[in-house]
Amino acid sequence: MRLLVFALDGMPFDAFSKLSDELSNMSELRDGGKWGTLRAVDPPITVPAWASMFTGRDPGELGIYGFRHLKRGTYEGYIVTSQSLRERFFWEVEGLRSIVVGLPPGYPPRKYGIWVSDFYTPDTNRQWTYPAGIADEIVGSVGGYVFDIPYRTDKKDEAYKGLVDMTVKRWRAAKMLMEKYPWDVFVLHEIGTDRLHHLYQKYFDPQHPQYVPGTAYEAYFSEYYKLIDGLIGDLVRAAKKRWGDHMAVAVLSDHGNQAQRGVFAVNMWLAEQGYLHFRSEPARGEDIERSEVDWKRTQLWAWGGYYARVFVNKAGREPQGIVSEEEYWDVIRDFRRKVKALKCPWGYVESQVYRPQELYRAVKGDYPDLIVYFDNVRVRPVQTVGYETYWLSENDRGPDDSLHSFDGIYILSPYEPGKRDMYAVDVASALAGLLRKRI
């Protein structure tokens, strides 16, 4: 049995629900298989989500909590790359031949099977495939390769052209590799599905507070998903023609996407609550990491993103820590209480505050003290400071229409048909089980 995996970044379950009549290939797979909502890992972000799904280890066990970590005991951050992943993917554990295209964190290229790196890759002038020669083959047969598009932009028409061009090139490259080289597991990751939501959510989602109905952008939603569906059908047919019908197919997403309801300058709020102090007034929009934080008076500070990582400035741990072991739990309790009472401009919202130990089976590496989702991830916490208010009208990193949600999608075919929801960490064992099945 061979396994063909379509890893569609950020495709929400409800996108499939809304469009299933138009997505004939995915619907055919669904009708012959098991499918449903795929509940994303915590936090619902590309890194660590895919790594968790394909290793079967939760982010705490992997010691990967996002695209970057704060080195514990310092105020310094560092980037998570493919080298940060120490666990093996399920196909590596089973010693199977693999071809993997674009899976994050995918740079530098992982040295197993055939590997094509991901949107981390600075440019095509460095080694972005393993083995290295694969890069030339891709460029030679496809005429170029695109890792990602600039999607935090107002140039929406241009962005869509780029999105389609990137996607078509990637799937052509995948088809060439899939037909040419033998494999047991083939994983094709497409970042374009996520970018579609970040670019155009407010044009097709009435839940978006800035919903703009009736524009030409509205059609991109179904148009792009139909493009993906057509490419899936084409690749499945080509794979079966080349390697035979003895093949399982999985369609997966690492998280969903939903409308962004607001932007919250979390460090400004922490300052107002008296947790965070500055030695000098920060400039408007200044990054907290560049600000002159008065560490001798600061108890809590945070990083933003899709979720907030809140760090306690703990005595004996951080260089200028002030929160003692005895105070630590009081500070956390007090913070939780204040988050619960947090009022957004549109009313009270439900936010979640977790200690990593409450979310994961093990907690390794450089974990934050607290993980916070504001309004069930519908409010984006930003870490920049220097604003008059902590509620901002837009994102500090450029226009962005969506935030992540926990409701991704999965389809595994062939399988006893039926809808059953699944947890992302169980994907690895489900796929390994599918590979062992005799059909």
């Binding site: 049995m1 061979r2 695209f67 970057r68 560092y78 980037i79 790359t81 080298q83 590596e92 010693g95 199977l96 031949r97 740079y107 530098p108 992982r110 040295k111 197993y112 099977g113 949107f119 981390y120 600075p122 460095r126 393993y130 990602d148 600039p150 999607y151 935090r152 033998p182 494999w183 047991d184 993103g305 994102n395 990193r397 450029g398 962005d400 062992r436 005799r438």
Partner: protein, 71 residues
């Protein structure tokens, strides 16, 4: 004389039998092919543990992730 492309490595027969049963149903045509594949991957993984990213490259990745809005 042309340099030989392959050589022989001895492994216990019991291990050979286990490997033989492991490749049933996969695309591997022989135990030799499977063992070569496994060893190549293990060697590559071990080599991969060496830090290969320069500080400049790390900065470039940071810039890229920032431009993408992840940082």
């Amino acid at each position: 004389m042309e340099e030989r492309k392959y050589t022989t490595v001895s492994i216990p027969v019991t291990l050979y039998r286990r490997l033989e049963s492991m490749i049933q149903g996969t695309g591997f045509r022989s135990v030799s092919e499977y063992v070569t594949y496994l060893l190549r991957e293990i060697v590559a993984m071990k080599e991969g543990r060496e830090p290969t990213l320069s500080p400049e490259e790390i900065e470039e990745i940071k810039r890229r992730l920032k431009a993408l809005g992840y940082l």
